[in-house]
């Protein structure tokens, strides 16, 4: 296994673990970009999803938007923005945020819209105001699906951050792109393995989040993936 030994050699070279282009720095950068993209995306998509789901209006727009967004090539968007506005943080962040919006929007919408009407009726009957119905009945009941939406958004963000390195930016994708440019396959494979590790850490984070955030009554049920 030449690949693994080259990657191992690169990963165990002490010099690769130091400095502004070292592995720890790139790892932190990768998570920084991903988290920022998900949070900015959530800022836009979560309220919109709650609104459309609660009012049960705008479903067609939401689903069409998600469909078109799936077709958008991240690499193309990043390159386009870098060519247009230069190598700036915005050039990378705009496409990253754009691609976290659809899963959060779609799953929040679907989750809230499909909450059992008996539950919301009971909440109304108990005298809850509309926003209390949303916050105290609909959101907790839809939490599994909403979290799945956030997980998809984070998966997109981690993957797209890796791709965004193509246009000279940080994160773990840097190693892959730089390694390809200098034909240092150890660096390419080592970087790819680190990206895989980042993706798996991301999933583990969401597994924990699911335990913490989802009400015990909803825990044992497996929610479907979107």
């Amino acid at each position: 296994m030449n690949v693994l030994s080259e990657a191992w050699g690169w990963l165990t070279t002490a010099a690769n673990w130091h400095g502004s282009d070292g592995i720890p720095t790139r790892f932190l950068e990768h998570f920084e970009y991903s988290i920022e993209a998900v949070l900015l995306g959530a800022l836009i998509a979560f309220p919109l999803g709650l609104l459309t789901g609660h009012t049960k209006r705008g479903g067609l727009v939401v689903t069409s938007l998600a469909n078109v967004a799936r077709a958008l090539p991240t690499l193309g968007l990043v390159v386009l923005l870098v060519v247009l506005i230069g190598v700036k943080f915005r050039a990378v962040m705009i496409p990253l945020v754009a691609l976290t919006i659809p899963p959060i929007l779609l799953n929040t919408y679907e989750g809230v819209r499909n909450v059992d009407p008996q539950l919301t009726d009971a909440a109304k009957g108990m005298g809850l105001r509309p926003w209390q119905v949303l916050w105290r009945a609909e959101v907790p009941a839809a939490a599994p699906l909403i979290l799945t939406g956030f997980q998809f958004a984070a998966v997109n963000a981690v993957a797209n951050t890796a791709i965004a390195a193509y246009s000279s930016f940080g994160g773990l994708g840097r190693f892959v792109i730089d390694g390809l440019a200098t034909t240092d396959y150890g660096e390419v494979a080592g970087g790819a393995i680190l990206i895989v590790i980042a993706a798996i850490l991301n999933l583990m984070f969401f597994a924990v989040l699911r335990r913490v955030l989802i009400s015990p009554g909803l825990q044992p049920r497996k929610q479907a993936t979107a």
Binding site: L72, P73, A159, T225
Partner: protein, 213 residues
Amino acid sequence: MNLFPHIPSYLGTYGSLIQQQLTMALLSVLFGLIAAVPLALLCVRYPKIYPAMVALLTVIYSLPSIALFVLLVPSTGLTQTTVIIPLAFYSLAALVPNIVDGVRGIPEDVRLAAVAMGYTGIRRLVAVDLPLAVPPIMAGLRVATVGNISMVSVGTVIGVGAFGALFTAAAQLSRSDLAVTGIVCIVALALVCDLLLVITQRLLTPWNKRRSR
């Protein structure tokens, strides 16, 4: 701005790029489907393995394409195969849960009626179960097809990205028009394929007068 500028000849022609993009994207969906059907039926038959299967597929789906492409290069080289293999696995992740839901969602009385009419084994599967599961299966196919058409472009980092090559050229030559053309072509291809799948679904399920989604 001219939406379809003359593209540098070393990249190929629009025709050849469309052909490459569709070859890689659609073959991977096809391979994914071929593997997904038996896996999904296995999960329907043995429900206990389904959660583990979903977990595995979630992990596979979360692995970034760029990492998988470069890790495969030593085995399969700078070829379309290297792009097709990871995309086929992504398709699998989109398809298996949908096929399972589809087959599980068949009403019990329909199943009993089919048995009473003498349908057994493979014949019941092909003539009754799978046709009734067409809508969710097609939903999975649409997700996989649209996603793959877009993701093929990442292959340009290993030199086989079809329209993704326009992004490389755009970055190297600082030509935003090439990037726009690439994006427009990829989105257009994805939406056309999506539309064709919707039409196929209507043709395959003439009993569904009203579209559910």
